[in-house]
């Protein structure tokens, strides 16, 4: 069912399958230099999409005026291998093919799409998009220059050329290792997902950008039973990775983490409820940044003045040791993009610089509104969706404290190791996330494991409450996470050093 509400949420973790700092550089030979898997011109070769045809369709999209128009061609092949009850006995494949056509006038968008890549169907969709404007026609650029960017996920071997018989043993081995690790394990599920997404963006101002975006993950879920009680947990690894990433050592690590994380839950308790200091461990807890500040910095929310951050640019929002980045250029991370879905090169955008709120995450529409350059955050789920500002990989830079000093300083509270199901209310800044693994902190030391606890906070309040940041930065190497906004899912990444938040509301039992 459709919803126009702006509820934004994120799902991470093993069961979610149903979210290096480098400045982008220009390669001398551009995109073609790294497209080793195949030559450029995929859509022309496979589907007969010529530049002349694109120009005619763009002319139709601008038949009633408008500031600009663009075409987004997509051909995505997604595969799933599923292990249940000891065997890889289910597979699923999905092929998505289509083109989305957008006409933009100010902050207004007309959008049509078609799954048939012939000129007649594309012209019809362009006519739909054109209805947003009501002036005299405009001409698109005469020629389209290929966009040249760096490649943050070069593909040597396409997933479609990896034989099924090579993938199956990887999936099977995770299952076998999980069972070998503990007699308490009673069920194991493993999912291996790979996707190759080919996109071509053609804009009325004369840019043509073509990309091959790989995405894959392996996720396992373990159920264990002890004295009649059952617990479930899991883990996943992935990103914009090739098949060679999935080594026996990785399978071993995945099995061990999945089993360990399940068994510890037999000793876990729900902590007392209320406000308390919270230490966030490194890595996946970056979900907190995604919710507490990331969404609120997406420029569409600010342009409409519906984000709690819309009046805070240039102001101090955190201590000087807090710097937060959104970055499309981290090699192989889930949220990395060579260019965004409207043809702006992938880049690194600073949200908070030493405690000062510096800039928003823009697509072309919001960049024009604010009179700045787009930041490469214009993303969409597929050709069926129009572009909106979205995060890529969001993370906090390292601090100087030692991780154990944070726990000591917290004295009494909780330590959050793994989180899932984050959600934020943009206007209030209130956010929540779910602690799937963690520990109590008592007398400045890690205590009993905790589980099944939701934490709530307020973005600006939480940022100003970060009182220590440690030097143990990690990127979350998972691939199964996706962020949802306005009904569109997008792959995103996270990273974080350990940090100490003075106080947040923990939803536990009555203490």
């Amino acid at each position: 069912m459709k919803h126009i509400t702006r509820r934004s949420f994120i799902k991470t973790g093993a069961t979610a399958a149903a979210a290096t700092i480098a400045v982008p550089a220009i390669l001398p030979r551009g995109w073609y230099a790294f497209a080793q898997a195949e030559a450029a011109g995929y859509f022309e070769r496979e589907f007969g999409v010529s530049e002349a045809m694109c120009r005619r369709v763009l002319a139709r999209a601008l038949a009633k005026g408008g500031d600009f128009a663009d075409l987004f061609f997509e051909h995505t092949i997604s595969n799933f291998l599923i292990l249940e009850d000891g065997k890889v006995n289910r597979a699923a494949c999905d092929v998505a093919l289509g083109v989305g056509i957008r006409t933009v006038k100010g902050d207004q968008v007309g959008y049509g799409f078609t799954q048939e890549l012939n000129e007649k169907a594309m012209l019809a969709a362009a006519s739909t998009a054109a209805t947003i404007a009501a002036a005299s026609s405009k001409n698109p650029a005469r020629e389209f220059a290929p966009l040249k960017t760096k490649n943050y996920y070069p593909v040597k071997t396409l997933f479609s050329s990896v034989p099924l018989n090579d993938k199956l043993p990887v999936v099977q081995s995770v299952n076998d290792k999980c069972f070998a690790l503990s007699p308490l394990v009673i069920k194991v599920n493993v999912v291996f997902h790979d996707q190759q997404k080919r996109i071509l963006v053609v804009t009325s101002d004369g840019v043509k950008a073509e990309d091959l975006q790989p995405r894959s993950y392996i996720a396992s879920t373990v159920v264990a039973e002890k004295n009649g009680r059952r617990e479930r947990s899991g883990w996943n690894f992935g990103g914009r990775r090739e098949f060679s990433y999935y080594t026996p050592a990785l399978a071993e690590k995945l099995a061990k983490m999945s089993v360990d994380r399940t068994l510890i839950l037999f000793d876990a308790i729900q902590p007392p409820a209320g406000e308390m200091p919270v230490v966030l461990g490194p890595g996946v807890t970056g979900v907190l940044l995604h919710e507490a500040i990331g969404h609120g910095m997406e420029a569409d929310f600010n342009r409409k003045k519906i984000s709690t951050y819309c009046t805070m640019i240039g102001k101090k929002v955190a201590e000087p040791f807090v710097s937060i980045i959104d970055d499309g250029t981290v090699p192989h991370l889930t949220g990395s993009i060579n260019f965004d879905d409207e043809g702006t090169p992938g880049q690194k955008t600073v949200l908070v610089d030493k405690g000062i709120l510096t800039g928003y995450l823009h697509d072309k529409i919001s960049a024009r509104f604010y009179g700045v350059k787009p930041t490469g955050n214009g993303r969409r789920q597929s050709y069926q969706h129009y572009v909106i500002p979205r995060m890529r990989n969001t993370y906090m830079l390292d601090g100087e404290a030692e991780p154990e000093d944070l726990i000591k300083a917290a004295d009494k509270g909780i330590y959050v190791q793994d989180v899932a199901n984050g959600q934020v209310k943009i206007g209030e800044g209130d956010f929540a996330f779910y602690v799937s693994q963690g520990r109590q902190v008592e007398n400045g030391k890690l205590g009993a494991p905790i589980k099944d606890v939701n934490i709530m906070g307020n973005g600006p309040k939480m940022l100003s409450n970060i009182i220590m940041v440690a030097n143990d930065f990690e990127f979350h190497e998972g691939g199964a996470g996706a962020c949802g906004k306005d009904g569109q899912a997008a792959p995103v990444g996270f990273g974080q050093p350990s940090c100490l938040v003075k106080s947040m509301t923990v939803g536990g039992v009555k203490g």
Partner: protein, 440 residues
Amino acid sequence: MKQELHDLAERAIKIAKSAGADDCRVTIGGERFVEISYRDRKPENIKEASTKGLRVEIFVNKRFSSQSTSDLRPESLKTFIENAVASTSLLAEDPFRTLPDPKYYQGRGTIDLKQYDPDYEKVTPESRHSFVKAIEESCLARGGDKVISVTAGCYDSHSEQLLMTSNGFDGYEEASVFYGGAEMTAKDEGDRRPAEYSVAVALSRKALPRPEDIGADAAARALSLLGAKKVKTETLPIIIENRVVARFGSGFVQAMFGRSIQQKQSFLADKKGQKVASNVLTLVDDPFIPGALGSRTFDGEGIAAKKRVMIEAGVLNDFYVDWYYSRKLGWEPTTGSPSNLIIPPGKRSVKEIMKDLGRGIFITGFIGGNSNSTTGDTSIGITGQLFEKGEPVHPVSEMNIADNHLKIWQRLAEAANDPYAFSQQRFPSLVFTDVVVSGI
């Protein structure tokens, strides 16, 4: 288009069988939709398109896979299905994977479920725009000087779906859907800008409320959140508003699926015939309500739909068991997915109930959170109103509830008289006692 879908399904089955499949099931869906939103009294987005997709589930030599595509060009479809059959053969054998016994296809209901509004074709671009404008205007008017932003929108679609199996099932459904909604962001103290929405979804245009009511409701909801704060952690009665009961209840329903049970991920697996909730909870799965969003005569596997009492006065009667997990569990299949879910409404309004409860929280929204289907443990963020003696005191934010589904439903004290119409889950507002609500 029915014949076109039919021909395509027959062709897909033929290709799969010639490529070596023992059996297959084909689902084809097609949809035409229009979506419009307004902001600042002008169109913000206009979107319109047609989609079509085909899914083929392949059974070959006791092996199984599911394949879907939107690339329906004859040659690519042929290659796609042939490759699918070949790669399915490489998977591990699974003797439980077959099409359902055709006897379960029998006895399909013949009642007119009124899923398609014959007036759908009469909807014009102008009527859509005036509908959305009316929502926006009433929201702006009701929101007054507190309005920061209002977005209003509508969506309608005409969809068709065809399900065909190689062992004799052939079913077709046609539906229309209409949606109207608005979201308002309001000025509050400091940097808080609370936002709330109102939505209505129905299968016929006439079943939607007046656009003015949708807009006014969105504004009233946004205004009701002004001045929210958290209160101290305490044990209180809560009322969960009808439109958000489904989100909380999904944690319970999730444990009723055959897969959860067979995979030992269900806290309800061994509870059939036992009391899992208070007497107040009866849960009926009713696929035969004319004009309801979840009505159907067959499910996704072709199994004939039946009305089922899943929970009766707190006693767990039934599970959602599809064909595959029924074979794995050695049980009778029911259906793999809920249709319309009904909790019978009570007699009193939320307002009347509040008067009797003393101090409590009326929960109007959830945020974040999770529910563990293996253990039943749940913890979730809430927004809503603190009330005392039937009167709202102030809105609450940044608060949580934590409980276990096997315990909290035993404390279900009352259902209000307000079943929610705009969802497959037609739940009334529900009252639970003694819930730990955490704040300061």
